[in-house]
């Protein structure tokens, strides 16, 4: 049989995957160049990785322009296994921003840990490639492979401090639980394939809808089983209660810059995957997953906020706080899934804005914690941040900004994330959930203020002034600027989110997704 390549692939496929290709090339380059670098030149790997991220951003801008010029909402690529739409582009920008800041944060820190190797940066870039597959996957096989690429890179990054027992333990725990959850997730995907006869999310959605219509609007038990197992995998990846136990341990043991990276980029990728699968593939089953998510989000907010109150380790505290933020974001999904009115779209908008502001404010907070690390100080206990104001006034003010933003205080970015989520809840009539969320936000204020209190009111246990390197200053500057800017002047960012939702999976425009 004569088959030509042209019948399988088009030139646009390669343009659309340009950012992924660039990142891969740079990551491979780092692996090779690292062999030739002397020990005190390892920062050059970070520079290469950073330039790689810049190139990928340029490639992404090119993709975005091409999409605009073609007047297309979306371009399926690689025989419909991947789709480039605005939703994917939005998330790709988020991943690149998270990776860039994480690289800036790592340079000095990995030097102090004496584990400055090129593989570190290569793995960060590879994990971003995996995230891109997750955010733009149309085919569950691609989504799954992307997920594993990201997860395996992250397992190694978590355990990168090989001489540190905590880091090893965290990596092993994360690996075992992650592999287990991936297994459950894959089982659910295989059931979906069995029901739909295709691995494409669009076709899965069609078939599920047909089968439900044939059975008189009743979901088939096998479909429910598939939904439950897939949801288990997805909720594990975003670290929602009851699948959150890995997060505090992994966050605590990982190198601090990687903790920051995991809590924003890895989490956004998991969210992108969750939104794609629940809103696209499993949309016909929304009557089942909405009550499920109500339970999960209440449990998540309760457990995480209560556990965060008593933490003395900064990384563990921020781990619980990041779990709590997942609880708030799930509320947005509930508002969208339970409402058949267009007002529900505010929920999804809230999630996307939340992920954007969360990327910057959380990375900023982790950047401050990363800078506390010195040769003889681990610097991740609350005691270590005590009296920071007297040692490094600028940094402590920035930390205060990040903490207030995380708590959702008005003039800062974090407010807008919570605002849209709560607004969507009230618009769709979930008054009880909205008031619960506000109550828990007050809890959040308490534990964030505990850090601020230690920082501003207590005496410094250790008087040595902090040394901030150039790259760390850049990381702090970018995150603080973004947190303030989004907070004070949110319109362009909200417009960017609306642009990215121009297609998305809103039912009113779902017919575009053939």
């Amino acid at each position: 049989m004569q088959v030509s390549i042209a019948q399988f692939f088009q030139r646009s496929d390669y343009l659309m995957s340009l950012p992924m290709i660039l990142l891969t090339i740079f990551a491979l380059g780092i692996l090779l160049i690292d062999l030739m670098l002397p020990d005190d030149w390892k920062w050059a790997n970070a520079a290469t990785a950073f330039v790689g991220v810049l190139f990928a951003t340029a490639g992404l801008i090119k993709v975005q322009i091409a999409l605009g010029e073609a007047h297309r909402q979306m371009v399926p690529a690689f025989m419909n296994s991947m789709v480039i739409d605005r939703f994917a582009i939005y998330f790709w920008y988020l991943f690149l921003a998270g990776a860039a800041v994480a690289i800036l944060m790592s340079v000095h820190y990995m030097d102090v840990e004496r584990e400055h190797h090129g593989e570190f940066y290569a793995l960060i870039l590879f994990s971003v490639v995996g995230m891109m597959c997750m955010a733009s996957g149309w085919d569950v096989v691609l989504i799954f492979i992307g997920l594993e690429l990201m997860a395996i890179s992250t397992y190694v990054l978590v355990g990168f401090l090989r001489r540190d027992r905590r880091s090893n333990e965290a990596s092993l725990k994360y690996l075992l639980l992650g592999a287990f959850s991936s297994g459950i997730f894959a089982y659910g995907l295989s059931l979906l394939y069995g029901l739909a006869g295709s691995t494409n999310l669009v076709i899965i959605r069609q078939r599920l809808a047909q089968q439900m219509a044939a059975a008189g609007d009743h979901a088939d038990p096998v479909a429910v089983l598939a939904l439950l197992t897939v949801a288990t995998g997805l909720l594990f990846k975003i670290a929602a209660v009851p699948f959150h136990q890995w997060a505090p341990d992994a966050y605590e043991g990982a190198p601090t810059s990687i903790t920051g990276f995991m809590s924003v980029a890895v989490k956004s990728a998991a969210w992108a995957m969750l939104l794609r699968i629940l809103l696209l593939g499993l949309a016909p089953l929304h009557k089942i997953w909405v009550p499920l998510l109500v339970f999960v989000s209440i449990a998540t907010m309760t457990a995480a906020n209560l556990a965060a109150l008593t933490q003395n380790n900064l990384k563990r505290l921020l781990a619980y706080s990041s779990i709590a933020h997942v609880g708030y974001m799930l509320l947005g999904l509930i508002a969208f899934g339970s409402a058949n009115t267009p007002s529900g779209v505010d929920g999804i908008r809230g999630i996307l804005i939340y992920l954007l502001v969360y990327t910057f404010m959380n990375l900023g907070a982790f950047a401050v914690i990363t800078s506390l690390r010195r040769r003889d100080v681990i610097g991740d206990e609350i005691d270590d941040i005590a009296g920071l104001f007297f040692r490094a006034p600028t940094e402590s003010v920035l930390m205060l900004v990040f903490l207030l933003s995380l708590a959702g205080i008005p003039p800062l970015a974090g407010f807008w994330g919570k605002y849209f989520i709560f607004l969507s809840l009230i618009e769709t009539g979930h008054y009880v959930l909205a008031s619960l969320a506000v109550l828990y936000a007050v809890f959040g204020l308490y534990y964030y203020m505990r850090i601020a209190n230690a920082m501003l009111m207590r005496q410094a246990l250790d008087k040595e002034p902090l040394k901030i390197g150039g790259s760390m200053a850049a990381a702090l500057g970018v995150t603080a600027l973004a947190t303030l800017l989004i907070g004070i002047y949110p319109e362009p960012f909200i417009r960017a989110v609306d642009w990215s939702l121009g297609l998305s999976q809103h039912p009113a425009i779902a017919h575009l997704v053939k």
């Binding site: 995996g130 594993e148 690429l149 190694v156």
Partner: protein, 172 residues
């Protein structure tokens, strides 16, 4: 061609797979477990053949019964077999684990038997499968629909290798 996919062969092969599977977890000597595992894998390969999937069956034998088994045996040779034989084989939770497994099994059986969609799918006439070009079909879907996933899988393997070296080597 006379059908080989008779119920007799199905029950024979699945019985073989089940019995040897149980042997894998109950034998004290890890070498015996590994040998029983080979039998399980071969029985599964037979079931794949009955499903007219010769390529998958071949891969199953070459990769699993061949390559991965050799790896297992290497690992077994590296660990101390004598001490492993004296260790407790199951931890204290085994009763609870059996109860949970049986409960989950009942749920699964009930779900699969009560599903209308599934019974309808099973009633459908089977599509005529091309018997000869199975491998070709696998190739087409691997390099067609799943090409990107296939390429990304190569990155996945690279990351796994780099990760293993980073974690295991004292000096990089």
């Amino acid at each position: 061609m006379a059908p080989v996919a008779t119920p007799f062969f199905f029950y024979l092969l699945s019985g073989l797979a089940l019995i040897s599977g149980i042997l894998v977890i109950t034998r004290r000597n890890p070498v015996h477990s590994a040998l029983a595992l080979i039998l399980t894998l071969l029985a599964l390969a037979g079931i794949y053949l009955m499903l007219y999937a010769p390529f998958v069956a071949g891969v199953q034998i070459i990769l699993y019964a061949g390559g991965i088994m050799v790896l297992f045996l290497f690992v077994i040779m590296l660990v101390n077999v004598g001490r492993a034989e004296k260790e407790r084989q199951f931890n204290k939770q085994w009763l609870l684990a059996i109860a949970a497994t049986v409960g989950l099994g009942i749920v699964f059986v009930r779900v699969f038997t009560s599903s209308q969609t599934l019974t309808e799918l099973l009633k459908r006439p089977l599509a005529q499968l091309p018997e000869t070009s199975n491998t070709q079909q696998v190739g087409f879907s691997l390099y067609g629909q799943y090409m990107l996933a296939f390429e990304i899988a190569s990155l996945l393997l690279l990351v796994a290798i780099v990760g293993a070296v980073v974690m295991a080597k004292k000096r990089i």
